[in-house]
């Protein structure tokens, strides 16, 4: 479809473009992009021609007083950024404004004034083969677009292709990030040993979980109520430590079995599912497990749910592995490495967070963490669903990313807080308070409720 569009677009353009256009009535918009492993930087040089400069100035000068104070400059720069669309591997990116420099109004009227706008966007982790697309729709009636990419300073990044439409409003950059594939670009894949391929895939698997916020969030949301027992349609007292551990182990194992199965099927090419609906379903799975953490929806059947949602997550993992571009038996080795990497990272996350969950679940403060965490996950999941369905970028998403960046600190603080509250709770006074609260909760459970009671004690 995109190919067809690319082929048709220049033809349309030829029909629309005026017969004798000259720079006087053009707005030169030159972009130079710079790719790094974790981010893309862009610098825009905007030069309005003499005949269009007053129109451009008027569009910046909101109050029409002939000057361009900083707030007006800032607003214009943000408007320019809003007219760009930037994405990596079909995932939209939100460029952030870094700086905006404006020439004098007089220089712009002469047709020699250059507006410089620079922006930055973080690149989420992905496979080794990546595709960046950049579109500029700013002042498309006047614009003469240029787009180029600097030779990457990072030696691990190799640009493999550039595509543009005729007027350069659309730009597509293909590159290989050797660092992501575990050391070497796929072109050299047959040369390096299966052992290093395995290690690379293992690392990729670990990274995929540690940085794939959505997979982590699903797992954590599902584990939030694991130390508790459902009492009707509410979460009641905590289960015994043994039962809690059994729950946790059951959930994690079921999730692993589920995603291993579909990962193997999809990676070997037996099953093929488009990635977009999968991404939406993953967000839905987070929403459901978050809601379950607030009110039990499928108590006692968490393992079954984890296994079935694991099937969906496995399909998403498969797209990450397909980015490795390996073939044949080599693929099987890397697949194994990738899956074990995922398991290892999952075990690490569970080992780090579960003691806190277990400790805290023995205190009344746990409901705070459970409901708070679940609400956060539910909000993020809703954001992802909207974003992935409509292909837009929500503000929530960056919030989640930022929170995920501080994962170790959050886990550490959580452990500290839970240790303190558990220690406080062991004093007799707080224990009796706790029992009262549980009794109250029990009383409330006798009241009729809108939610269907799935299972009792």
């Amino acid at each position: 479809m995109k190919k067809l569009l690319l082929a048709v677009f220049p033809t349309i353009l030829l029909l629309v473009a005026p017969a004798s256009a000259h720079r006087l009535d053009e707005y030169l918009e030159a972009t130079i992009l710079s790719i790094q492993s974790d981010r893309v930087e862009g610098s825009l040089r905007l030069v309005p021609g003499v005949a269009v400069s007053s129109a451009v100035i008027a569009s910046i000068d909101a109050n029409g007083n002939g000057t361009l104070p900083e707030p007006e400059q800032q607003r214009y720069a943000l408007r320019v950024l809003a007219d760009l669309s930037l994405s990596i591997d079909r995932q939209p990116l939100k460029p952030r404004l870094v700086s905006a420099d404006f020439p004098s109004v007089e220089e712009m009227r002469e047709g020699i004034g250059e507006i410089h706008i620079s922006f930055i966007a973080d690149l989420p982790r992905g496979g080794a083969d990546r595709r960046l697309t950049y579109e500029n729709h700013h002042q498309s009636q006047l614009a003469a677009y240029l787009v180029n990419c600097l030779v990457p300073s990072d030696k691990n990044i190799r640009i493999t292709g550039q595509n543009r439409n005729e007027n350069q409003s659309f730009y597509q950059l293909d590159f290989v990030d050797a660092d992501r594939s575990g050391g070497d670009p796929p072109a050299q894949a047959p040369l390096f040993s299966s052992l290093s391929g395995f290690a690379g895939a293992f690392r990729l698997g670990m990274r995929h979980i540690s940085e794939g916020t959505d997979h982590l969030m699903f797992l954590l949301a599902l584990l939030l109520p694991a130390p508790l027992l459902a009492r009707g349609c509410r979460w009641g007292r905590s289960a015994t430590t043994f039962d809690s551990l059994r729950h946790i182990l059951g959930i994690v194992t079921a999730f692993s079995v589920g995603h291993s199965l579909t990962l193997a099927l999809a990676a070997s090419g037996i099953v093929h599912v488009p990635s977009r609906p999968i991404e939406v379903l993953i967000a839905v799975s987070i929403l459901l497990s978050a809601l379950h953490a607030i009110r039990p929806m499928f108590p006692g059947r968490e393992a079954a749910i984890a296994a079935s949602f694991g099937l969906i997550h496995g399909l998403a993992f498969a797209t990450a592995v397909s980015g490795l571009g390996f073939g044949g038996w080599y693929r099987l080795i890397s697949l194994l490495g990738f899956n074990l990497g995922i398991e290892a990272m999952q075990i690490m996350v569970v080992t780090v967070t579960m003691p806190s969950f277990l400790l805290l679940s023995r205190t009344p403060a746990y409901s705070l963490l459970r409901v708070g965490g679940a609400l956060f996950a539910a909000l993020a999941a809703t954001g992802w669903i909207v974003e992935r369905l409509l292909n837009v970028r929500s503000a929530l998403d960056s919030l989640v990313e930022r929170a995920a960046h501080h994962g170790p600190e959050i886990a550490g603080t959580l452990f500290l807080l839970s240790s303190v509250s558990w220690w406080l709770r062991t004093s007799p006074a707080s224990r009796s308070r706790c029992h009262r609260r549980v009794d109250e909760a029990h009383d409330q459970d006798q009241l009729p409720d809108a939610l269907p009671v799935i299972s009792g004690d």
Partner: protein, 377 residues
């Protein structure tokens, strides 16, 4: 057949020894290029009055002046230094002698043709019949809007914005055979940045341009950047279909990518790599490059050409726009030559109506603009 006698052996040694002796004498007696440029620079500086001299001289570390060049007319983008217009005739010929000593004969001629082009621009700017120059019939320059057209706004005082005397000369540092220094010369459509460090000379970044790119002077048709256009088109025509497919880009380029202000950037190269050209095509490419690398005086040009030859396999040629040109006129297409130590861009400007009549070109070495690699050592 006497074979190799002792007598002829002695004679051979004698001849070789004489050759060696004469060449070493030549190098002792002949003035080096740098010595020649320093001599003409000193002569120029001593012709100036103290005020002019102060205006011409900048500190070698003045990076602001170093980057103070443009394709725009000087009235719009003021240059540093002193213009030919502000000099008396003795000073002007000293300035031109300095330029002639720093450039090759072809390079100096090219620069003069670019300046003459701006003179034609100025004369035609005043309306038809304004001077002896002017574009030949068919160029149709004056009916189309042009850059610098004030569009009913007040004129820029008495100062015309075009003309062959509106070119500025400046010197960064002190002319020296050992310490690095820099000579700049430029105005509308021209920016020469020559860094001299010992016997080495570096002319990157340099901008050349012309509007009109075709004019008559004294009954002769002049195209200041005609070779740049013709040699490139000849190279394109020498490519086979597969090569052309690689060389011709599928998109339009409205302007220079690495023009003024874009120092130190290396963009991802595109087009056809010279490693997939045959020997004849490679020779044509080098000959095309020499239109820029050969502007500087011969010994520096030779050193530069040797470097570019070494890079040839990693050098790219890319073309965008019409693959034909009207006979006797410049191309209306953009092209770029890029290698590890080279960026050349040829960008026709739509401004002025006929893009073949208005050209900007850029010549860079992203690894050694302003002779950076010579100076930091």
């Amino acid at each position: 057949m006497n074979g190799f006698s002792l007598n002829s052996g002695v004679r051979l040694v004698l001849v070789l020894w004489l050759c060696l002796l004469s060449s070493s004498f030549r190098s002792v007696l002949a003035e080096t290029a740098t010595a020649r440029i320093v001599r003409t620079a000193d002569a120029f500086l001593s012709s100036l009055d103290p005020k002019q001299k102060q205006a011409v001289l900048y500190s070698f570390n003045d990076d602001k002046q170093r980057a103070n060049w443009s394709n725009f007319p000087v009235a719009m983008a003021p240059r540093g230094g002193v213009s030919l217009k502000e000099m008396n005739s003795a000073q002007r010929s000293a300035a031109m002698a300095l330029l002639a000593s720093a450039l090759s004969r072809e390079g100096f001629e090219k620069i003069q043709q670019i300046m003459e082009s701006d003179e034609v621009n100025k004369l035609t700017d005043r309306g038809p019949g304004g001077g002896n120059g002017g574009p030949p019939p068919g160029a149709n320059e004056s009916t189309t809007p042009r850059f610098g057209d004030r569009r009913g706004r007040p004129p820029l005082g008495d100062n015309p914005i075009f003309g062959k005397d509106l070119y500025y000369i400046s010197i960064l540092g002190t002319p020296s055979e050992t310490n690095p220094w820099m000579l700049q010369f430029g105005g509308h459509h021209l920016a020469l940045n020559l860094t001299i460090a010992g016997q080495r000379g570096v002319l990157t970044p340099t901008l050349t341009g012309a509007q009109p790119a075709l004019y008559t002077l004294g009954g002769k048709t002049v195209r200041p950047l005609g070779q740049e256009s013709d040699k490139a088109l000849a190279l394109l025509n020498a490519l086979d279909d597969t090569q052309r497919k690689q060389a011709i880009l599928s998109y339009h380029l409205a302007d220079l990518v690495l023009g003024p202000g874009q120092d130190g950037k290396t963009i991802q190269p595109e087009g056809l790599k010279a490693s997939s050209m045959n020997d004849q095509q490679r020779a044509m490419l080098l000959d095309l490059i020499s239109e820029w690398s050969g502007i500087i005086h011969e010994s520096a040009a030779d050193a530069r050409m040797a470097e570019l030859k070494k890079d040839l396999n990693e050098t790219w040629f890319a073309w965008s726009g019409p693959a034909t040109a009207d006979p006797g006129k410049n191309i209306a297409a953009y092209y770029r030559i890029q290698g590890p130590h080279l960026v050349i861009e040829y960008a026709p400007q739509r401004l002025g109506g006929d893009p073949s009549m208005h050209v900007h070109t850029m010549y860079r070495d992203p690894t050694n603009d302003y002779g950076r690699s010579l100076i930091t050592k």
